[in-house]
């Protein structure tokens, strides 16, 4: 009872420095947790994200470029492949489903991806297909479009609306096509990159006015679902080792993991910066309490004169530092949620990959424990000063 009272009173008596120091802990702790969670979740989300497919077949190129273009709808297409290649792989006994896609146009920055209605039979997650939530699927050969949920929301398009696409993967207002598409449906959210795409019939992209005539018989890639994922090894051997015209990117997770492996150093730098900020914040606890020790000497002497043991005073100072960190870390969760929500919004807007700021991660326990522990440790230095306070000298002048 006595120790909490002494700590609470001291926090209140030094309210401004308590608030400022707790705020610095909140910012540092929030940043530390956010860096860790965004890093880990984005790594997991990208490497586990395959949009329901096991592999991608495309023109000869780096596997990563192929996966980024065909699965994540990022990057430029590495080139086209003839329709016959789609027919070949679709007939392969190891393949459960082959989905041709063609890219090359956009509407206000959101990609138009031409494909077949087989899209709607793909399970992007166990038991969950790409289902039209509003309206209906597009019909092959018609100028109809089904929008991913995120694209529809951002573009403010609804069923029945009409739009004219623009040429190229990047939006250029001078490159508008003449064709007019009607929105027939909007997909339910899948939390995959498909949410950011405007899906149209394959023929739409192939026959768009202004496209190369060759495009009518070509596609950009084939998304492949295998009957047995292990069968990918023989297909990889066939396309990558024995041929030199096409690339078979399999397994998708490993291809993306290689990307994260290449930028692992960046993660390390971010971690280091976050820990440095945390160290500076706990240092501010030390500085704040230490600098106020002179004005606390009289109170300490009075407490000692009332019978408080020196180790009680020591403990009170350490607990005060820990209490500032506790207050700071409570606020740190608000900072964490703010940073993570902003990061998640940006990542979702750019890639369609969804992060969940409310998902559990061990850092959400470790960071508060570490910050509170470090702050208590930082409190040892002013606590030693408090412990050594000369009671007689600080009570009344010696006569």
């Amino acid at each position: 009872m006595t120790l909490p009272l002494i700590v609470a009173k001291s926090l209140r008596q030094h309210l401004l420095s308590t608030v400022v120091t707790a705020a610095s802990i909140a910012l540092a702790g929030g940043l530390l947790m956010a860096v860790w969670v965004v890093k880990t979740q984005s790594n997991d989300a990208f490497t586990k994200q395959n949009a329901g497919f096991d592999a991608v077949l495309g023109a000869r190129s780096a596997k990563l470029q192929l996966v980024l273009n065909a699965i994540f709808h990022l990057e430029a297409s590495p080139g086209n492949l003839p329709w016959a290649d789609y027919e070949d792989i679709a007939k392969n006994a190891a393949v459960a489903l082959a989905l041709p896609i063609a890219v090359g146009d956009n509407y206000h920055g959101y990609r138009l991806v031409g494909t077949t209605t087989n899209l709607f039979s793909v399970e992007h997650a166990p038991g969950r297909k790409y289902r039209v939530a509003e309206g209906e699927e597009f019909a092959a050969g018609y100028m109809e479009a089904v929008l991913g949920s995120f694209a529809a929301r951002q573009l403010k398009l609804k069923v029945g609306d009409k739009f004219q696409p623009y040429h190229g993967l990047n939006f250029d207002p001078n490159q508008q096509h003449e064709e007019q598409y009607v929105v027939t449906g909007i997909l339910e959210p899948s939390n995959t990159p498909a949410d950011r795409v405007i899906w149209i019939p394959l023929e739409g992209v192939q026959h768009m006015k202004g496209h190369d005539a060759k495009a009518a018989t070509e596609i950009s890639a084939v998304l492949v679902k295998l009957k047995n994922p292990i069968a990918g090894r023989s297909l990889e051997l066939m396309y990558n080792k024995q041929g030199n015209r096409l690339t078979f990117a399999w397994p998708i997770a490993q291809v993306v993991a290689e990307l994260f492996g290449k930028i692992a150093w960046f993660d390390k730098v971010l971690e280091l910066v976050a820990w440095l900020v945390a160290a500076v914040a706990t240092g501010s606890v030390l500085a704040s309490i230490y600098n106020s020790m002179n004005e606390r000497r009289r109170d300490i002497a009075i407490l000692r004169a009332l019978g408080a043991r020196a180790h009680t005073i020591f403990l009170a100072v350490v607990l005060e530092c820990a209490a500032i960190a506790v207050l700071g870390m409570v606020a740190a969760f608000a900072v964490y949620l703010g940073i993570t929500e902003v990061a998640a919004h940006i990542i979702r807007t750019e890639t369609g990959v969804v992060l969940n700021a409310f998902a559990w991660h061990p850092i959400l326990a470790w960071a508060p424990a570490a910050m509170i522990g470090l702050s208590a440790l930082a409190g040892v230095i002013p606590a030693v000063k408090a412990y050594r306070t000369n009671v007689a000298e600080n009570l009344v002048p010696v006569s």
Partner: protein, 222 residues
């Protein structure tokens, strides 16, 4: 057996010239249980150091301080703290109230390190000193006389056997000083505590049956 028995008590401080400066050198002093004794002493007579030695705030260089049968001089600092928390009440000239704490909290702290907080007893003490309506006032919200009353209540909060008072009326006007002295003496009597008071105020000293001159008691006094 007296409550307080002091013999050959010495305390010196380091002097600026590198030598030592004797402040207390008391060959003999006794105080009976529940007795009320005043020590008269001017500045430099070592009165505060003498009281701090008895309270265990300072450790003597040599000599003996027996309080309630316990030898304080040989005790470690933490043990002296314990004795102070359970056996001694201290009233200071400057009151030494904790400014961030209410009157009630100041009194509660007076018992927290010893017998433990007893809210009802703390309230009763404040009521006894006439502050029953100002339990939650901070020291700055009280007059000087009222602050001294809180200090008196706090000194009695741990049910001490001995109350030490160092110039307790030094910061009060005559009327308040007279009232405060009466209160201190009555409160000590009611609670069965002995009172050892040092002062240089003749009016205060005049209220005591037993007055000793610290200048004569302390051979180190100037």
């Amino acid at each position: 057996m007296p409550l307080l028995q002091i013999s050959q008590l010495k305390k010196s401080y380091a002097a600026p010239d590198g030598g030592t400066h004797a402040v207390v050198d008391v060959p003999e002093f006794q105080l009976k249980a529940q007795a009320q004794v005043a020590l008269s002493g001017e500045s430099g007579s070592g009165k505060t150091t003498f009281l701090n030695l008895i309270a265990g705030i300072l450790a003597p260089d040599s000599g003996s301080i027996q309080l309630n049968g316990l030898e304080l001089a040989g005790l470690r600092e933490s043990a002296r703290d314990r004795v102070r928390a359970t056996t001694i009440g201290y009233i200071f000239q400057t009151f030494n109230l904790l400014q961030g704490y209410t009157a009630l909290e100041n009194v509660l702290l007076g018992m927290s390190f010893g017998p433990g907080a007893d809210r009802e007893f703390a309230k009763a003490l404040l009521k006894r000193v006439g502050l029953g309506a100002k339990l939650n006032h901070l020291p700055r919200q009280l007059s000087t006389g009222q602050q001294q009353r809180v200090a008196v209540a706090r000194a009695l909060a741990n049910r001490p056997k001995l109350v030490l008072a160092d110039e307790p009326t030094g910061n009060l006007d005559h009327a308040n000083a007279r009232e405060a002295m009466a209160l201190i003496r009555e409160a000590c009597r009611e609670n069965g505590a002995a009172l050892l008071l040092v002062s240089h105020d003749r009016e205060v000293l005049g209220q005591f049956e037993s007055v000793q001159e610290l200048g004569k008691l302390n051979r180190a006094a100037k």
